[in-house]
């Protein structure tokens, strides 16, 4: 028998990228005895190593809890844990759409941050009831009253009676549970209507294949049903439905208002896309749910095996990775410098970093990655338009009429003392000032329109260092704009190194060419001959450095009879050589390709 719908509460937690959110989720699970205290591992919901280490959530997860409230009734809570980063805005929006309410956790020592605000707006767009909570009041630097004022001023939510809690110590967390009961509406929906299940995430399981994480909006689904994905049109037979306990627990059916998973022997998560609607093949819904979007990669880079022999291993790893993350795109490419590899697309920079890290860690690969790039629109002389995501495939300037690059609207929140230096940074990054407003006497919100290509690399680092870590940042994609862009090339000992080419604004080309040439001089080890390094635009050399020739490469001493030591040193040197890439006559260490971009 289905659980009474009026006793179900579906909610998520919104917080800045910070372990605070997962800590609160852990406390809620403890208080509802969903997991025994002794089984608690810190941040239970974030299951990937990388998520734990970075303290961020990448994939959405869900957990079901039962809470006996002060009114004497027992409620079913479905907590959906959402990603917390701008790269995953679309995933967040679908997870929010699966809920009726959101617990907004604001850190009393930091106040509201740009990313929090962005997710609150997303929640309001999805008509969620917001339950504000002031966290970390156990810390001496906490300022609960000011935080409450900020919530009221910035978001416009009454927050006077918001629970003041410490997720870490568990202080007042019961108040949060009570507020979920009283403030978050029970789900609507008709269990007897045609099935509409919203996919808010999908994961790949080695035994069961791709699982759809769903919120049932209408209808009921049971094992044996034939289901249809309304956007892709694919059909599958349901083998199992279940809930999150938090481990997967099979149940007889999932019905309107409930949250759970559907298993249907689906081979890859690409076939169960976030935002798609699942219905029954024999009695389909008329319309899919709103809000489905194809998530498109925004940031591209070349990924190559550090050891060319690992190409097949890299290909297999990518195949496996996209079983779990359909938003990554990849296709084979070749580089003169790096050999055979893949051009990969990601939702954003963090997404890219995480994917690289997972490839290296989970698949034990050594990778060489090239500079990240955006998609440029190149309008040719004949009026045709080409989309270019790899600087080395940019057509010759002679054939180009003009070029356009993607822009973003960047929102930066910062203590007011750093405004000057942050504005300087935004200008350096070709930002166009849009707006500045005071959140309160001490905090400022800045809005800039900026080229995406300027923020994909080191903008965030710059922001953090100029604000001693206090500024926060969020962006949304804007339109393309025309821009005077040029391709900056590098020649090593006269040979073009395609993996180093990048697209920059003409005004910045000289400075960047010089800086990168200087950095190359640092990272390219001395070799038996002198190596000229040249930065060039078109055929014109704009900067030049020289790596002097090495004079000796011989071990002076043989350490008495310790031959083993000498052999080990040679082995090490040989390994080092293997990790070098040959560009023409010049050997370059694999990690140089990324490190030369870390200038300033």
């Amino acid at each position: 028998m289905a659980f009474p719908k009026e006793l179900i509460r579906n909610f998520c937690i919104i917080a800045h990228i910070d372990p605070g959110k997962s800590t609160l989720a852990d406390r809620l699970m403890e208080l509802t005895e969903t997991v025994a205290e002794r089984d608690m591992e810190e941040q239970l919901l974030d299951s990937m190593d990388i998520e734990r280490e970075r303290g961020i959530t990448i994939k959405s997860t869900a957990v079901r809890m039962f809470y006996k409230a002060k009114d004497g009734k027992t409620y079913m809570f479905n907590l959906i844990d959402t990603p917390g980063h701008v790269d995953f805005t679309y995933e967040v929006s679908r997870a929010l759409a699966a809920c009726e309410g959101a617990v907004l956790v604001v850190d009393a020592t930091q106040g509201i941050e740009a990313q929090t605000l962005a997710n609150v707006y997303l929640a309001l767009d999805n008509d969620l009831e917001i339950v504000p909570v002031v966290n970390k009041i156990d810390l001496v630097s906490a300022d609960a009253e000011n935080t409450v004022r900020e919530i009221e001023d910035i978001i416009g939510l009454p927050a006077e009676d918001a629970p003041r809690i410490s997720a870490k110590t568990g202080l007042n967390v019961t108040d949060v549970l009570e507020r979920i009961v009283t403030d978050v509406p029970a789900p609507k929906g008709d269990p007897d209507a045609p099935l509409k299940a919203l996919i808010f995430d999908s994961i790949y399981d080695n035994y069961m294949g791709a699982l759809s994480y769903v919120r049932i909006m209408d209808g009921t689904v049971r094992p044996g049903d034939r289901i249809r994905f309304m956007h892709s049109g694919n059909e599958f037979d349901v083998t199992e439905v279940g809930v999150f306990n938090p481990a997967r627990l099979p149940v007889k059916e999932l019905t309107a208002g409930e949250v759970g998973y559907i298993s249907a022997s689906i081979k890859s998560v690409a076939e169960t896309k976030v935002g798609d609607t699942i219905t029954l093949a024999r009695d389909p819904a008329k319309e899919p749910l709103h809000g489905y979007k194809q998530a498109n990669p925004m940031v591209f880079c070349g990924i190559y095996p550090a050891d060319g022999a690992d190409y097949e291993a890299l290909k297999e790893a990518l195949d496996k990775l996209i079983l779990n993350d359909a938003s990554i795109s990849y296709e084979p490419e070749t580089s003169q410098a790096l050999g055979y590899g893949f051009r990969c697309g990601f939702l954003g920079l963090l997404h890219m970093e995480i994917a690289q890290e997972r490839l290296e860690r989970e698949f034990d690969l050594d990778l060489v990655t090239t500079a990240p790039s955006v998609i440029y629109r190149v309008i040719m002389l004949d009026g045709s338009v080409r989309l270019i995501d790899n600087p080395s495939s940019l057509p010759s300037p002679m054939e180009i009429q003009r070029m356009e690059e993607p822009t973003v609207t960047a929102r930066i929140m910062t203590p007011s003392e750093f405004v000057g230096s942050i504005m300087e940074l935004c200008q350096e990054k070709r930002g166009v000032f849009v707006d500045m407003s005071y959140i309160d006497s001490a905090r400022v919100k800045l809005t800039y329109k900026m080229p995406l290509n300027e923020i994909i690399f080191d903008f965030f680092d710059g922001l953090k260092s100029r604000s001693r870590g206090y500024a926060s940042f969020d962006y949304e994609l804007g339109e393309y704009m025309e821009s005077d862009l040029v391709k900056l090339d590098f020649l090593l000992n006269g040979d073009l190194c395609d993996a180093l080419s990048n697209v920059v604004h003409r005004d910045k080309a000289y400075a960047k060419g010089r800086a990168m040439a200087e950095k190359l001089k640092e990272v390219i080890p001395r070799q038996q001959f002198e190596i000229p390094i040249q930065a060039a635009i078109g055929g014109k050399i704009i900067a030049r450095e020289t790596v002097k020739a090495v004079r000796k490469d011989v071990l002076a001493k043989c350490y008495g009879g310790d031959i083993t030591r000498k052999k080990k040193l040679l082995e090490k040197q040989k390994e080092g050589k293997k990790r070098m890439r040959q560009v023409g006559t010049v050997a370059i260490p694999s990690d140089a390709f990324m490190s030369v971009l870390r200038i300033n």
Partner: protein
């Protein structure tokens, strides 16, 4: 040919660049001595079929031990092993501890070669790298050594030291010429991790000469040694004719040697197998294990034939005479010029190696880029 190496792990003060196993803790000298004697006696029956042509007592600073100790060790060696009549027997010494008493004791027991650590004739530089002697101490030590009967004397010198200039390097060498020292080991500084100098350089407190300056020092030094009748016979070793160090040549010929003492290394053919092993580098373990009549051996490894061949190449090419094809054929039944033909032809093209009727010889350029050359052999 076979050699014996004896390690004495004590030093009055550790030099800033040194990562050898040695310590300034003489409270354990007696225990060490007893253990070393036990070790020598343990090996006696195992080595009864071998004739040793060289002995090398190194450290540390052998001459910093109590008077009589080195003589006792020499007597133990002669009792335990067959040491040929015309053997080359070397002891290392530092100028400050090479007094008449100790040096006479060595000569009396048959030590016929003295290797002195000078490093530099610049007192300021000596102090900076943590040496406790002066140029004057060296002069005195050499005079004493000659008086008690040493004629075969080596001086170790270094280049690439912090604050060192080419002129300072050359001054040191000219000083050795003036002292008529027949053998010079001239080493480029190797900055080893876990040394005070390494930390100091890493923290930016001390600056080393850049690699070009060091290369200049080396080239200039090598040239003036050649001009003054010293022949470079190995990467870092120079001698007047007839004064080449036979003990070290045995290493470079990949010959057999028995290491005795803390952290010493051995290479022996045991029941036909080329075998390497070393002693523990932990003094307590060394003393305790020998106390229980157990050899404190670690890392015993049978070297596969291919690796033994590569070792022979790696070591042989350090000599200016090169790797002897005859000895190689005798040892392995294969001509190295054939076995390593692909690597050799690549290196020939690069002007790094020459193949003569007798040997594989690295050119000047090949000597300078020896590691590169060896990696080619290794890859094959």
């Amino acid at each position: 040919m076979a050699g014996i190496y004896v390690h004495i792990p004590f030093c009055k003060k550790k030099c800033a660049y040194c990562d050898f196993i040695s310590f300034p803790d003489y409270s354990r000298e007696d225990l060490y001595f007893v253990a070393l004697v036990k070790e020598i006696r343990q090996y006696a029956p195992l080595m009864k079929d071998r004739v040793f042509d060289t002995v090398f007592i190194g450290g540390g600073t052998p001459t910093s031990m109590k008077p009589g100790r080195l003589a006792a060790i020499m007597r133990e060696l002669k009792n335990a092993f067959t040491i040929s009549e015309n053997a080359e027997i070397t002891s290392e010494a530092n100028p400050e501890s090479a007094d008449e008493e100790k040096l006479s004791e060595l000569v009396a027991e048959g030590v016929n070669r003295l290797s002195l650590g000078l490093q530099s004739a610049d007192d300021r530089l000596l102090e900076m790298i943590g040496r406790i002697h002066t140029k004057a101490d060296f002069v005195k030590a050499v005079d004493t050594a000659r008086r008690v009967g040493f004629t075969n004397i080596n001086a170790d010198v270094m280049h690439g030291l912090p604050g060192q200039t080419e002129e300072s390097c050359l001054d040191t060498l000219r000083f050795l010429f003036s002292m008529d020292i027949p053998h010079i080991s001239s080493y480029a500084l190797i900055l080893e991790e876990n040394t005070p100098l390494y930390e100091s350089v890493k923290s930016g407190e001390t600056a080393l000469p850049d690699p070009d300056e060091t290369a200049d020092m080396e080239d200039a030094g090598f040239l003036v040694m050649e001009e003054n009748g010293y022949r470079r016979y190995e990467v870092s070793n120079f001698a007047r004719p007839g004064f080449e160090c036979r003990h070290n040549l045995n290493y470079w010929n990949n010959g057999e040697y028995l290491g005795l003492g803390l952290n010493s290394h051995s290479a022996l053919r045991i029941r036909g197998e080329w075998t390497r092993f070393n002693n523990t580098d932990d003094l307590t373990e060394y003393v305790n294990e020998l106390g229980g009549d157990k050899l404190p051996v670690r890392n015993t490894r049978t070297i596969p034939r291919d690796e033994e061949m590569f070792e022979t190449v790696m070591l042989g090419l350090r000599k200016t005479a090169g790797l002897s094809r005859g000895s190689f054929i005798e040892r392995f039944g294969e001509d190295p010029a054939v076995k390593y033909a692909p690597a050799i032809s690549e290196l020939e093209l690069d002007g790094m190696i020459k193949v003569t009727d007798d040997a594989l010889v690295l050119t000047k350029r090949g000597m300078d880029f020896q590691n590169e050359a060896l990696i080619k052999f290794m890859d094959q």
